[in-house]
């Protein structure tokens, strides 16, 4: 029978098919754990006298609560410190591998899996975090789970699940200069809405997706959840295999060959049927920014803030009014005139080495706008090390940016990096909800290129507003002061 990519991975993990309407039991290949959603799961095990069934399929790291400054000092916030200490104790007690603050493989959980080569095509990957969809970029079925499900996976390495529906999102053509995969996903969310993906696994395909680097694909899959989807996936190809090969946990020798042979079968059959389909033309895309308080409230940068009175749908009009009030914006203001206080470059959406390289390329030799605070936060300590080996940190510092240690940082107001009430940011992260980056903070979601240009000009800007020579290539950095990439050749 013809099947979609998601269905193939699902079928390959069926421990037991549910009888008449009850859920299927699915095997979980990889379980990522962090400090926020795991404490009660471990305690549940302890109370029931249960063990972690497969510590060898489980890995933990610290990210949400970790500070990005002074990481060698005790964590000041008591709640944060307690959560992290609890994770460390649980990892020790239950024999789970952990990468703690100060370790080169500490970082945002969705970067740690891929960089260690643990995330691969054809796996089921879960984590108590909604952005687990990131790992779908490899052709894995990856989704976020709640605390009681975390406990369930720890105890049984399985999950009872009801099948998802599938949606194909085809992006044809080529991205125009100055646009990135972030603009693709923001445009997708604006098109289908924040609830448009509910109950679906999204599969991204088409020429524009095929041409993306592995890291750019992760950005797309990462934000699937912002369209309400359970997961996002991209069929694996040579780009995927090349990214994986040689990573610490990538298969070797005959195992590698067997794996690649299998991975090549992981694509939706030509006659597979999706429950829904969406088509986008990449050549129509422009740099996208959000103006409101959910990721679906986005527009091309060349547009103006919407005027609520002109919105036909009554619910959307009320939502827009509310959002504009919170954001402190007037309808009709050109988005390019919106002045920001802070630029945040980081998170599991856009805190990877390619993102940092593209930002460095834009800002090299320039100074940040006065009165703008610029934070550059690598997704993992390994990304930071790599960036420093390439000299990117020097470019950031000369620009006037703060170069931080790894973590979720200003993506969410859980650690010391927060917006003050009323403070406005251009942020490469994934959520612009009220208070997400700190109480009263105002977030505009943008791509790394827009973030960089905005940091230069102080208002929402794209690289076309700067006199940059030619097309900025996201995947390479050919600026002169860089030392060539040496081993490790990846992060």
């Amino acid at each position: 029978m013809a099947g979609t990519l998601a269905e193939k991975v699902w079928e390959a993990h069926l421990v037991r098919r549910g009888a008449d309407g009850s859920p299927d039991l699915l095997y979980i290949d990889l379980h990522l754990v962090h400090e926020v959603t795991s404490p009660q799961a471990f305690e549940g095990l302890r109370l029931a006298g249960r063990q972690v069934r497969r510590p060898d399929l489980t890995i933990a790291t610290e990210d949400h609560n970790t500070p990005t400054l002074d990481i060698d000092l005790p964590i000041a916030d008591l709640t944060s410190r307690t959560q992290i200490d609890t994770l460390r104790n649980n990892a020790r007690e239950f024999g789970v591998r952990i990468h703690s603050l100060g370790d080169a493989d500490q970082g945002i959980v969705h970067q740690v899996g891929p960089q260690l080569g643990l995330t691969m095509p054809g796996l089921t990957v879960v984590c108590g975090d909604s952005h687990t969809s990131t790992h779908g970029a490899f052709g894995a079925l990856a989704f976020g789970i709640g605390t009681s499900e975390v406990e369930h996976v720890l105890a049984t390495q399985t999950l009872p699940l009801s099948p998802f529906k599938t949606m194909a999102i085809t992006v044809n053509g080529q991205l125009p200069p100055g646009t990135t995969s972030k603009d693709i996903i923001l445009a997708v969310i604006a098109k289908i809405g924040t609830g448009g993906g509910q109950g679906y696994v999204l599969e991204y395909r088409g020429e524009a997706i095929r041409n993306l680097s592995m890291e750019a694909r992760m950005t797309v899959c990462n934000m699937s959840i912002e369209a309400g989807a359970r997961a996002g996936m991209i069929a694996p190809d040579e780009t995927t295999f090349e990214y994986l090969k040689g990573r610490p946990h990538a298969p070797e020798g005959a195992d590698w060959d067997a794996a690649v042979e299998y991975w090549k079968t992981l694509r939706s059959d030509d006659d597979a049927e999706f429950d829904a389909e969406v088509v986008l033309e990449a050549s129509d895309l422009e740099p996208f920014v959000t103006w409101g308080t959910n990721p679906g409230q986005g527009l091309p940068l060349s547009a103006s803030v919407p005027v609520p009175e002109e919105i036909a749908d009554a619910n959307e009009r009320v939502a827009a009014e509310r959002a504009l009030e919170y954001m402190g914006l007037e309808g009709g203001t050109p988005l390019r005139d919106v002045k920001v206080d802070t630029v945040f470059i980081g998170s599991c959406t856009n805190g990877r080495i390619e993102d940092l390289r593209s930002v460095a390329k834009v800002i090299q030799g320039r100074k940040k706008a006065d009165d703008v605070r610029v934070l550059v936060v690598p997704a993992s300590a390994r990304v930071r090390i790599q960036a420093e080996a390439e000299g990117l940190d020097v470019i950031f510092k000369e620009f006037g940016a703060e170069w931080r240690n790894a973590g979720c940082s200003m993506c969410l107001g859980m650690n010391p990096d927060q917006l003050a009430p009323g403070e406005r940011s251009a942020s490469t992260s994934n959520r612009n909800f009220e208070g997400r980056q700190g109480k009263g903070g105002r977030t505009h979601l943008v791509s790394p290129l827009v973030a960089a240009a905005t940091a230069v000009r102080g208002t929402l800007s794209s690289v076309s507003d700067l006199d940059l020579p030619g097309h900025v290539d996201l995947t390479t950095f050919d600026g002169t002061p860089l030392t060539p990439l040496e081993a490790p050749s990846f992060v």
Binding site: E43, D56, M120
Partner: protein, 212 residues
Amino acid sequence: MEKFTTHTGVGVPLRRSNVDTDQIIPAVYLKRVTRTGFEDALFAAWRGDPSFVLNQEAYSNGSVLVAGPDFGTGSSREHAVWALKDYGFRVVLASRFADIFRGNSGKQGLVAGVVAQEDIELLWKILETKPGTEVTVDLEARTVHADDVTVPFQIDDYTRWRLMEGLDDIGLTLQNEADITAFEATREAWRPKTLPAKHLPSVPVEPARPVS
């Protein structure tokens, strides 16, 4: 999870409808890392009021909550069930529950029984005229008995079976442990293992410092 067949305990009349999970346990308590000890958080906003039902001597050790319609609406936090259980409640009766709350209750061993609103009113009357009255909940027969009144309650067959067998989700899955073990034997060698850990060369990580 403890098996549940019948339970007898003091009934607590909670004459409020639409009790949402934020009222059952306010968000500030969600930062905790424990799974037990939420008894102080239960109805925290109301507990400061001396006239609140749980602050009255006769009801303070209650274990059967008789509430108004639409109990447990709002955010899906599992803590709401933990708080009720930690306080000592084994049963909540109402004429309507929010779906997620009812689902969470079944999984955590709290009986959420649906009782017709007129029967709820009857129970309230008994419990209020004779504070401290014990209520017997018979899961097998699906009845509630208080004073000289016996009324029926509804609970779906599957949840009832699970509660009577004392099976939580994990316990249920582990009934199929042989299937899991059999599946594990078929997993290909290329699938990754986190242990033994493989690393890139270790490199010291410099702490970033605040810029002055």
